[in-house]
Amino acid sequence: MGVEGIGASVVRKEDRRFITGKGRYVDDIKIVGLTHAHFIRSPHAHAKVKSIDTSAAKDMPGVVGILTGQQIVDDKVGNLICGWAITSKDGTGMKMGAWPAMAPEIVRFVGQAVAVVIAETKNQAKDAAEAVVVNYEEFPAAADIRAAIKQGAPQLHPEAPGNVIYDWTIGDEAATEAAFKAAANVVSLDITNNRLVPNAMEPRAAIGEYNEAEEHFTLYTTSQNPHVARLVLSAFYNIAPEHKLRVVAPDVGGGFGSKIFIYPEEMVALWASKKVGRPVKWTGDRTEAFLTDAHGRDHLTNAELALDANNKITGLRVKTYANLGAYMSLFSSSVPTYLYATLLSGQYNIPNIFAEVISVYTNTTPVDAYRGAGRPEASFVVERLLETAARQLKVDPAELRRKNFITQFPHQTPVIMAYDIGDFGASLDSAMKAIDYAGFPARKAKAKSEGKLRGIGLSCYIEACGIAPSKAVGSLGAGVGLWESAEVRVNPVGTIEILTGSHSHGQGHETTFCQLVAERLGVPISQVQIVHGDTDKVQFGMGTYGSRSAAVGLTAILKAMEKVEAKAKKIAAHALEASESDIVIENGEFKVTGTDKSIALPIVALAAYTAHNLPDGMEPGLKEGAFYDPTNFTFPAGAYICELEVDAATGKTSFINFVAADDFGRLINPMIVEGQVHGGLAQGIGQALLEGAAYDSSGQLLTASFMDYAMPRADDLPSFKLNHTTTLCPGNPLGVKGCGEAGAIGASAAVINAITDAIGNNKLEMPATPDRVWHAIHG
C-alpha cells in the first residue's frame, strides 16, 4: 500500500470545494432566462379534482405559464413506472394503479401535485399558485395498513381490489410448518417497523432546459443515478429520446435512496421547459420533501422462531404487511420482497424459512428504498427474535447466537441467498471485547444501586450488497441490469480521467476511485480525475445505491485499468525493446524487471497518441472501457452492541457505549468507510429512538417538518467505537463488500434490545421515544 493506495486513509479530494462553499448543487445553477416552478398540491389524502380555475392566476405579475395534470396526460407523457415485477403466490402479476406526474382526476396522497405555476421568480409563482382555485370532492382515506386491508376500506386503485398489490411468498411452507410442529420452543413477536423520511439535507431540485434549435433537452437533477433517469425519461415517459436528452447530477447533497427515483417534479420541469419555451427550475422546500420524497420501511410483521431442545433454530415463519403508499414507486415492489425476505436467515443456520409478504396501497406518500431498503427490516425481525428467544429460554443472547451461527461457507439459505464468506464469530468476539461484555452484569448491578436502569443489546446483522448478477435479478423480475461501466482515459500528457457510472453524493468516490489508480500505477491521485454524473460525459451507468459502488463500480474501473495497463505494457515493451512479460509498473514507471531500464507513464501515453512508434498493428490512443457484472451479491456482516441507561422517571435513554465490529472485506479508505458506518449508525439509532412518520386517520402527515419529525442531532448520539474484522469477498478481485448501509441495517435492533433489557419489558415499538419508554415502564 502506497501513501495514496488501497488501504490508506487519504483525505478527500472533493472536500476543498465543499469547505469553501464552492460546491455546485442544482439550486446553485443559474441559466439565462430561467423561470421558477411552484407546484399546486393536494391538501387531501384522497379526493377527486373537480375543476381547476386558473383565470385569476394566469395574468398575475411574472406568470409564464400554468400547466395541469390533464395537459400532461394529453401530451402523452407516460405514467410513472415500477421497475421490478413481483408475482403473487396465485401466479398473478402485481396490481399496479396508474400514476400520472400530475393528477388529472384523482389525488391519492396529501402533497400530490395537480398543477404547476411557472413564473419569473419563485415568489411570483407562489403568489399566483394561491390564486389558482382547485375544487376537490373529498373521499374517505385509508391512512395505514390496517385501515387499508379491513373490510369496506376505501379503494385506492380499481386495479387493486382490497388495496392489495401482491401477496408473495418465499420458502417452503410445509417444511416450515413441520419444523414448528416438532419444535421444543416457539418464540413469537409482533413488530412494527416504523415509517421513515429520508431527509437528505439537500432538498430535491430540478432544472429542465429545452434547446429548440437542436430539439435537445437538458435536465439538471438531484439524482443518485442520472443514466437510469435518462433511460426512464426517454423510454417510458416519452419526454425526449435518449440521444436528445442530457441528464446532469452535479454535487448532490445526500440521497440515502430517496434520490434513486425519477420523480414527477423532474418530469414536469423537463416537459414544461418545452411548453413554456424557457428553462424551468424547481427546488423543493423541506415540507415538500416530507410530503413527496419516497418514504422508507413501514411494515407490520408477525414473526415466529422454532427451536429444538438444544436451542438450535429449526424454523422461521414471517408474515409481513408492507405499506407502499399511494403509488408504486420505481423499486418499491422489490424492497419488501427480494431485498427483505431473502435476508431473513440472518447470520444463522435456519433449515426452514417461510415468509409471506402482502404489499398494500394506502393514502400516503409512496414508499421505496431508504438506506438499507428491506435489509434493516429483515435484520430487525431476526435480531429482535433472537434476543427475545434468549430471554424466553433464559440463555445468554450472545451464546444463543453463537450456537446458531453459520460457520461453513459457501452457505445456501432456504431463501435464495448463497452467502459466499464470513466469520460471524469473529465480529461478535470483537464487539464483545470492545464493550467488555463480561463486565456488564457488574455494571448493571452498580447502576441499579444508583437507581438507574442499564441495558445491553446485541445485533448481529448480515446484508446483501451490490445487487447482482444481472441475469439473476432479471429472473426475479428486475427491469434493469445491475452491472456498472467504467472508462479509463490516459491523456497524452499522462494524466488520467476515470469515467464511471457510479455517482458520488457524499461517498467520496473522487478519492477512493483515485486510490485504485494510485495503487495500480503508482501515480499521485492529484493526476487522476473522476468524471461522473453527466450522461454526456459517461456513456452509461447504473448509479449508486445498495452499497454497490465499490463492489461493482470500482471493479468495473479495475477491469478497464487492466486493459489500459496491458496496452501500455505493450507500448513500453516496444519502446524499451523488451519482452512484454518482463514489464512491471512501479511508481508511475514501466520497468523491465531485473534491469535499470524504464520508461515513465507520460512517455508511454505520449507514444500512444503520437503513434510514431507503436507496435505493428496497434491502434493509437490509450483509453479503455469495461462493463462489469458481478457473479453474486456481496455479504457484509457484523456485530453491534449497545449499552445504555434509561431514566425511569422520564423514559429518556442515554448511551453509555456503542460498539461496532464490521466485516466489509478489503477497505479501500478506512477513514471513509468509518464515516459511512457513523452515518448509517446514526440513521439506525434515529429509527430506534427518534424518527417516525405519523399520519392521522384522514391521511394528513403529522410529521411534515423538523418541528415534528425528530432528526438525530449531535447531542442525541454517542461517539462510536468501530472495529473491523476481515474476510475478503471472493466474488470480486478487490475483495470488497460494501459499507454504506450496514450501520442503518444493524443499529436499531441493538438499541431496542438494550432498552428492553434495561426496562425489563419486551413490548416496545420504534421510535422508542421517552414517552413510549416511560409508558413501557409504568404502564
Binding site: 394561491e130 422520564t650 427518534l690 417516525g692 425528530a710 421515544t769 416511560w774 409508558h775 409504568h778
Partner: protein, 266 residues
Amino acid sequence: MYETIYHRPSSVDEAVALFGKGSDSKYLAGGHTLIPVMKQRLAAPSDVIDLGKIKELIGIEASGDTLTIKAATTYFDIMQSADVKKSIPAIAYLTSVLGDPAVRYRGTIGGSIANNDPAADFPAALVSLGATVKTNKRSITADDFFKGLFTTALEDGEIITQVSFPVPAKAGYEKMRHPASRFALTGVFVTKTKAGDVRVAATGASQNGVMRVPVIETALKANWSAAALDSVKVSDSGMLADIHGSAAYRANLVKVMAQRAVTAAG
C-alpha cells in the same frame, strides 16, 4: 412569504407611529417566530416594524430586589449577563437551554412572551417568579399577561418595553426537550420568594399554555425539597397529548421536572 414593508424605527414612539400607519402591522423582535410563520404564509403583515435596533429596548439592570430585562435583549445577552447570573441564575440557565446558539443570538425575551407559545420557556419563568411586564402604556402582572395559547393581554400596537423580576430566595428551571422541535415538551420553573411564598409554573404541558401548579406549590410550601413531591399526583386533565407525549406522560413530567428544578434551585 407575502410582500411586506420593512421598517426599522429607532425609538418606541416612532415604532408605535409606524405601527398605526400600516393596515396590518406586526412588530418584529428577533424574528424567530414571526419570520417562519411569514415564510409559511400563515401571517401576512402589511408592515413589519423591527424593534431589534431600538436602543431603549435593550439592556439589563439589577437593582436590589429587582432584575429588569428590557424587551429586545437577546437570549444570548441574558445568558451571558453577570447581573442575571448573580441575581436569578435560573434565568441564565433557562436561556442556556432555550433554542440553539444561533436562535439565542437573535431571539428576545419580549418576542418570546408576546408570542406566548405554549411550549416556550420564558412564560414559565415570568409566572413562577411573579414578574411584571411593562409596556409603552402600562404594567401587567405575569398572571394577568398570559391569556392562553398564543394569546396575551397586549392590545393592538402595544409594545413590551421590559420585564421586571423580583429577585427570589430560590429558583430553578428544568425541562424535558421535545425530541424534534427542541422546545419544552414540558418545563417547570419553581420559585421560593423572599417572603417565603412558593410559585410553580409549567410550560409545554397544558392545553391552555403556561400554568401554575397548585398541588406542587402546596407541597413545596410545606417542605421545599424534591422528596416532598414524591407522593404528589399531578392530574393529567387538560394536558396536551400528541405523538410525542401523552397527557399522563406530561403530567408525570410536570412532577419530575419540578423535583429536578427544586434540586437545581438548592
